[in-house]
């Protein structure tokens, strides 16, 4: 079998798996898995850009994904006017003060001669800035959070269409990536691991604790959607009629319709991202990146600005993760900061990239879809396996009931086994880099 044939077959396999879900379970489940698979594929592309093309080890994927999520709230939720009146100005002033302090510090750092005087002045500026900032910031926050804490208690967003939040999510992620890159890239790669981990923790901590921004752990629920609501469709006689014509009851019809809308939207975004990534990869730019990856010292000696390129691709990858994060939050319809956990948003995404084949965009897409499918479907598979194991045991034996209790944990076990099997037989991933 030639390479292309093999790849087509692999994608077909994923397609068949999803179709099977549709036939055996339900078409709603199938479409849902497809949609989330598409989002996962985007995240995998983002990580693949960083890891597969540049060897940048990003442990903080969850942070960028979370920033994307934050963007949905900031863009799409209606503004809370009372909160703006109460503390909006204060917050803006505080942010300006904070930014000003940092700019001043950097300015002084550049302008003054190194020495103890500079250190003292810098520290003084920072401390004074910090206190001034807190003095303006704290009362404003308190004022905002006092306004209907159970319902709002935050500034709200801009009330714009949520589709706008997708690029904005990318922008926020780009900003964070730029800061990390400026401080940590160009030094040893271990820094990047720590820095990304750290910044992700910081982003999540901010999202959990700054209630004025996005309600913190009180979550924002009921984000607007770019597609119609099922309930509306179910009440719309025209739609109900059309559904009936297709032999669907209104509930199934509406849920399928909504999911299909998402599928199309996501597919478009994914294809655009994929096209951009592929074009970049196959150009002199991609060649330069490969050269840098192969041998940084030599690339540097050949006039390539290794740090600059790393920064660029690190930002690009993060942007993709941010966009995917925004899309995912849109799909969920809510922002819940406590869900951003490394197991799901760092380890699992890597698994996708590696199983798919790092260094290959199509591999990343395949890995994203396939691993997502497994992540969701190993649960029933694990249960089945456990049933098989315990089938021969006498009913009511302690071991049997203990094992049945543990069924849920077969999920991770099965995931691990699948991974090891793939790695055993296809160590460079299912669609390896050429």
């Amino acid at each position: 079998m030639t390479g292309t044939m093999r790849n087509i077959a692999l994608f077909a396999l994923v397609g068949v798996l999803i179709l099977l879900t549709g036939v055996l379970q339900s078409w709603n489940s199938a479409l849902l898995i497809l949609n989330m698979g598409l989002v996962s594929a985007m995240m995998a592309i983002g990580v693949n850009l960083q890891w597969g093309f540049a060897g940048l080890f990003n442990v903080g994927v969850m942070g960028f994904v979370a920033l994307g999520g934050l963007a949905t709230v900031l863009v799409s939720m209606p503004p809370v006017h009372a909160a703006w009146r109460a503390g909006g100005l204060g917050i803006l002033a505080a942010v300006a003060l904070g930014a000003g302090t940092i700019v001043l510090t950097i300015f002084l750092f550049r302008r003054m001669q190194p020495g103890w005087l500079r250190a003292v002045v810098l520290i003084a500026v920072l401390i004074a800035g910090f206190f001034a900032y807190r003095a303006v910031f704290d009362p404003a926050v308190a004022a905002i959070e006092r306004i209907n804490p159970a319902g709002t208690g935050y500034l709200g967003g801009l009330g714009l269409p949520i589709l706008l939040a997708w690029p904005v999510g990318g922008l926020l992620a780009a900003g964070a990536a730029w800061i990390i890159g400026k401080t940590a890239l160009g030094l040893r790669s271990d820094y990047l691991a720590i820095a990304t981990l750290g910044i992700a923790e910081i982003i999540i901590a901010v999202m959990k604790n700054e209630d004025w921004l996005s309600r913190g752990v009180k979550n924002v629920i009921g984000l607007p959607r770019p597609v119609p609501y099922e309930i509306m469709l179910q009440r719309d006689p025209v739609f109900v009629e059309r559904a009936a014509a297709l032999g669907l009851d209104p509930v199934t019809g509406s849920t399928l319709f909504v999911k299909a809308n998402y599928s199309i939207l996501l597919l478009v975004v994914l294809l655009v991202l994929l096209w951009l990534a592929q074009m970049a990869l196959k150009s002199p730019w991609g060649r330069m990146m490969r050269a840098i990856r192969d041998n940084e010292t030599a690339a540097e000696a050949m006039g390539k600005d290794v740090t600059g390129r790393h920064l660029q691709i690190f930002i690009l990858g993060s942007v993709v993760c941010g966009i995917a994060g925004a899309i995912m939050t849109t799909l969920d319809g809510q922002l819940v900061p406590t869900t951003y956990q490394p197991l799901r948003y760092t380890f699992l995404i890597w698994v996708m990239v590696i199983v798919g084949g790092s260094g290959n965009n199509f591999g990343a897409v395949l890995g994203g879809m396939l691993v997502w499918f497994l992540w969701v479907q190993v649960e029933p598979m694990g249960a089945l396996l456990m049933k098989g194991i315990t089938a021969g045991m006498t009913d009511g034996s302690a071991l049997k009931s203990h094992l049945l209790e543990a069924t849920a944990h077969m999920r991770l076990l099965t995931m691990g086994i699948v991974m090891l099997v793939v790695l055993r037989f296809s160590p460079r991933g299912l669609i390896p880099e050429k």
């Binding site: 730019w285 006039g303 600005d305 690009l316």
Partner: protein
């Protein structure tokens, strides 16, 4: 061309380069010899921006280049090869050459999406140039081989080839000859001489093989213990007592058993 003034490089308490002063004339092929551990490679690394000097200045054509990063030095026309070949092993030999020129428009991300025609033209020119260089080095048959899979000597040729893809002004060669077959080494020497003659590259060559040095270099600088010990033509150096004692030695003591 290059002037090194009172350069120091210390590792902890150890003074690898300890006040080196030297000057490299434009258009020359200067040999740099010296016992193991004399600080030659370290001096190279400092000039090429890989290491920060502890003290001292390096100037190139009158401009201070101390502490500039390697990629900026590259754009100033300072190139180097490595003692151990640093090829881009997963790329083909041709790609190894094509990636060298700076400021390719295809290296800008924007152009890869919206400037494809321009890139295509540029690529064609680059490819032609790369093939030309490969031919010059007599390895045109390796154009589509992965660079990681060619032999050690061929990698060294490739290293040299990269310096030919752009208009270099000065090229530093760190032990091109070590481990290279003598016949091949002659080819390399010819290439160097041609580059020097035809393109007016300046070369600085570290080497322990006196035949090779003799073929190529004038003048020769001998370093020892981080400082310049002697300078002059090879003949002068060979006659220098200190150099003989520290570096050249007097030949085999044990004669071959009969």
């Amino acid at each position: 061309m290059i002037k090194v003034k009172d350069l120091h490089k210390h590792f902890g308490g150890f003074h690898a380069v300890d006040g080196a002063n030297l000057e490299i004339a434009e258009g020359s092929i200067t040999g740099l010899i010296g016992p193991n551990g004399a600080g030659k490679t370290t001096l190279f690394n400092v000039i090429a921006g890989v290491l920060e000097p502890t003290a001292g200045r390096v100037t190139m054509a009158g401009k201070d280049i101390t502490g500039l990063p390697p990629h900026e030095l590259f754009h100033k026309g300072l190139l180097r090869t490595f003692q151990i070949a640093h090829e881009f092993s997963s790329m083909t030999c041709r790609e190894n050459l094509m990636m060298v020129p700076g400021n390719q428009s295809g290296e800008r991300l924007w152009n890869t999406w919206f400037g494809r025609r321009r890139i295509a033209n540029e690529e064609r020119a680059l490819r032609a140039k790369a093939d030309e260089v490969l031919e010059f080095l007599t390895i045109e048959h390796l154009a589509d081989h992965r660079a990681g899979q060619v032999s050690g000597g061929q990698k060294k040729l490739l290293e040299l080839g990269r310096t030919m893809m752009v208009d270099a002004r000065i090229v530093f060669l760190d032990e091109v000859g070590a481990g290279v077959n003598r016949t091949l080494l002659n080819t390399i020497a010819d290439a160097i001489i041609r580059l020097n003659k035809e393109r007016q590259y300046t070369f600085v060559v570290i080497e322990h093989d006196m035949d090779f040095i003799g073929r190529l270099c004038d003048p020769v600088i001998c370093m020892a213990e981080g400082r310049v010990l002697a300078e002059g033509t090879l003949a002068e150096i060979k006659a220098n007592e200190q150099v003989i004692e520290a570096y050249l030695g007097t030949g085999l003591k044990n004669k071959v058993n009969t």
